[in-house]
């Protein structure tokens, strides 16, 4: 996935010289995850540059550059370090189009290596999506595989809206044979990642892999067919694919790493019962992280939702 994102950035920069990549350590080092590797060497220091260590300033800088006609793609180095920039996102990036009566769209894609599962110290494993998704005026997307990472990134950079692009660090080293450029479904739509008939499992980011693994096990061991829906876009939510699926399966489970209370699962469960109530054969369940601070790395394996926790929920919704 790292290579796919790197290629997405490089191709976007080659196609449009208004695309700028900047952030902490993205230049000479090529990013702490090497996502921006080689971009400065290829495109020069004007197109890919290091900034001072100042996350609010980085997003503020992107806003000003967008006003000047650029398409900035700033990187915030880790999820946990995106919070200093939250005010710039909420008060300005998300509102600028609205506050300028449409005259100043924000063509900014903020990349954030996100979520847990890589054994990092605290503040490196957060799930910040709900903070952003609750803010009108930004799109929030999260790819689950290299093809989507490339395609959704290109679409985000070329689009006319600010996008919070949450990259699942845990999937950075996942591999897929790809002939680039690749174009997948539009990034504001969910996609059925694995068709099934008994239970709809909604997931995004790294949890899609967990859901697919659980579907394998359920099929093999219990003859239960899970339909996995990869949400892809977390805001604005497009739940048509989820609702279609639930109307067929009658059962729905939402999976996310983020703490349960007021997470995206709450919103999805609410919409499913509002719009597919009569198709439901069981309550909508949430399989999530706990309402605690993200745990120390040695405990993340038991804290994060995994195949077992998901299969427990499958068992519950299938109880007669």
């Amino acid at each position: 996935m790292v290579e796919a994102i790197n290629a997405g950035l490089a191709d976007a920069m080659a196609d449009d010289d208004h695309v700028l990549v900047f952030g902490e350590d993205v230049g000479r080092l090529g990013g702490v995850f090497r996502v921006t590797d080689g971009l400065q060497a290829r495109f020069g220091q004007r197109r890919c540059f290091d900034t001072p260590l100042a996350e609010a300033g980085i997003v503020g800088l992107a806003i000003g550059l967008s006003m000047r006609g650029y398409r900035p793609v700033p990187e915030l180095q880790f999820d946990g370090f995106s919070y200093p920039a939250l005010d710039q996102v909420i008060s300005h990036l998300a509102k600028y189009r609205n506050r300028s009566q449409g005259a100043m769209p924000m063509r900014v894609t903020v990349r954030i290596p996100s979520f847990g599962g890589i054994g990092s110290p605290e503040h490196h494993c957060e799930s910040p999506e709900t903070y952003f998704a609750h803010t009108a005026g930004v799109r929030v997307v999260s790819p689950s595989n290299p093809a989507d990472a490339y395609s959704m990134l290109r679409e985000s950079i070329a689009g006319d809206d600010p996008v919070i692009f949450l990259e699942p660090k845990r999937r950075y080293w996942s591999r897929q044979d790809l002939a680039l450029p690749v174009t997948t479904e539009p990034s504001d739509r969910a996609r059925v990642a694995r068709p099934g008939s008994d239970v709809t499992v909604v997931a995004y980011g790294a949890m899609v892999r967990v859901a697919l693994d659980a579907a394998e096990v359920a099929e093999r061991d219990g003859g239960v067919s899970l339909e996995v829906v990869d949400l892809r876009c977390l805001a604005p939510l497009d739940l048509d694919a989820v609702l279609d699926s639930v109307r067929r399966t009658g059962r729905c489970i939402v999976v996310h790493e983020a703490p349960r209370t007021l997470g995206l699962g709450a919103e999805i469960a609410a919409v499913v019962q509002e719009r597919a109530f009569h198709s439901l054969e069981a309550p909508v369940l949430r399989v999530t992280g706990f309402d605690t601070p993200y745990p120390p790395a040695t405990l993340e394996g038991v804290w994060l939702p995994g195949v077992d926790r998901l299969l427990d929920a499958v068992e519950q919704v299938l109880e007669p």
């Binding site: 609010a56 503020g60 000003g64 189009r97 604005p236």
Partner: protein, 364 residues
């Protein structure tokens, strides 16, 4: 206890001044000889119009026509002196008290009235005049000016970004980040701190230990200069220098314009709770308009006819504002769904139809 020591202090020797409070040219001052009589008339006219219009905004708020208004009374020299030195395509990033800057740029006062009446966020008619929307959060717009200036630098043009902040904003983290980045990137960005001595009720002495905000520039490795913000010619001179530095690629400047907020923080504030009448009286004697008028009259540049014309222009602007906002109808309720993103999501369409039903409108 009101801590008013600094606001009551005499103007420091390090503060650039051209005109003394009585309008006389300060001995050895850097007088801006390049300004024509028409330039001078234009500046004093803009200050006069600003004061009249500012008063009309306050009146309209008192009459229940505006939700709120932050008066710029007393700060006309800083705003007009700074802005009149810019080119029309230099971008201004205002806070919310910069009526004088908007008057110089020829922004329709109705568009500012629409903001304070609660009809349109950010104001209307600003962007056409290269002014960013009016910004209420303190200092968080400063990094935008840096980004804009960086873009201008990349484009190889000599356009400058100017951001207006106050003494209170210098305590904000985003202002620190903006100053630092502007210096690191050596961008054509000018930070204008209108030090009006009060951040609502908190005096400058409770905001910072330094007595000279311009001295903070040294910590960022950028030029810093302090001028008498009630002396329009001093403001014009320091801005001229800063613009030249920016256009020549010599980096950003921090300007501290020492002025005073003669009015309340906003129409919702009661300054008698925290500052003294004596302090106000002191600053009344430093009034920026009286000072400049005395100078121009003595120089034979400003006549009774100019005064009359400036008064008329102010009345016209005030009437324009009043006509456009007084009992102005509520905007179309469905407009809240415009300009959220480039296109409306399915959910937003559903919510829009709901509001259309509730307000008896056609959602198509």
């Amino acid at each position: 206890m009101a801590i008013t020591d600094r606001a009551e202090a005499p103007v420091a020797a390090s503060t650039l001044q051209v005109l003394a409070p009585d309008g006389a040219v300060v001995p050895g001052a850097r007088y801006p000889f390049e300004l024509s009589d028409a330039d001078h008339v234009g500046m004093l006219t803009a200050m006069t119009v600003t004061r009249r219009l500012d008063g009309e905004f306050v009146n309209l708020q008192r009459q229940g026509q505006l939700a709120l208004y932050p008066s710029c009374l007393g700060q006309e020299a800083a705003q007009v002196g700074i802005t009149s030195a810019t080119r029309d395509n230099d971008w201004l990033f205002p806070q919310y008290r910069e009526l004088g800057a908007f008057v110089v740029r020829g922004v329709d006062p109705a568009g500012i009235g629409h903001m304070w009446r609660g009809m349109a966020h950010g104001g209307t008619g600003l962007i056409e005049k290269c002014c960013a929307p009016i910004t209420i959060p303190i200092g968080t717009h400063a990094p935008h000016a840096v980004g804009y200036a960086l873009g201008a630098k990349f484009d190889g043009v000599d356009t400058v970004a100017v951001t207006f902040i106050g003494d209170g904003a210098t305590s904000e983290g985003d202002v620190h980040e903006a100053l630092n980045m502007a210096a690191v990137f050596q961008v054509p960005c000018i930070f204008v701190v209108q030090n009006n001595h009060w951040a609502i009720s908190v005096p400058l002495s409770a905001q910072t230990r330094v007595t000279d905000i311009a001295s903070k520039a040294a910590g960022y490795g950028m030029a810093g200069v302090r001028c008498d913000g009630n002396d329009v010619l001093a403001c014009r001179v320091v801005m001229r220098d800063a613009l030249l530095r920016a256009r020549e690629g010599r980096g950003p400047t921090l300007i501290e314009a020492v002025t005073y907020r003669m009015g309340a923080h906003t129409t919702a504030d009661d300054p008698t709770r925290y500052r003294s009448e004596g302090e106000l009286e002191l600053w009344r004697r430093r009034d920026p308009i009286d000072r400049y008028r005395s100078h121009l009259v003595a120089a034979g540049i400003w006549t009774a006819q100019h005064e009359e014309r400036a008064t008329e222009t102010g009345e016209r602007a005030a009437k324009r504002l009043r006509d456009e906002v007084f009992d102005a109808p509520m905007p179309d309720p469905l407009s809240v769904f415009d300009h959220v993103l480039s296109r409306r999501s399915g959910e937003l369409e559903r919510q829009r139809r709901q509001l259309a039903r509730e307000t008896g409108r056609d959602a198509t």
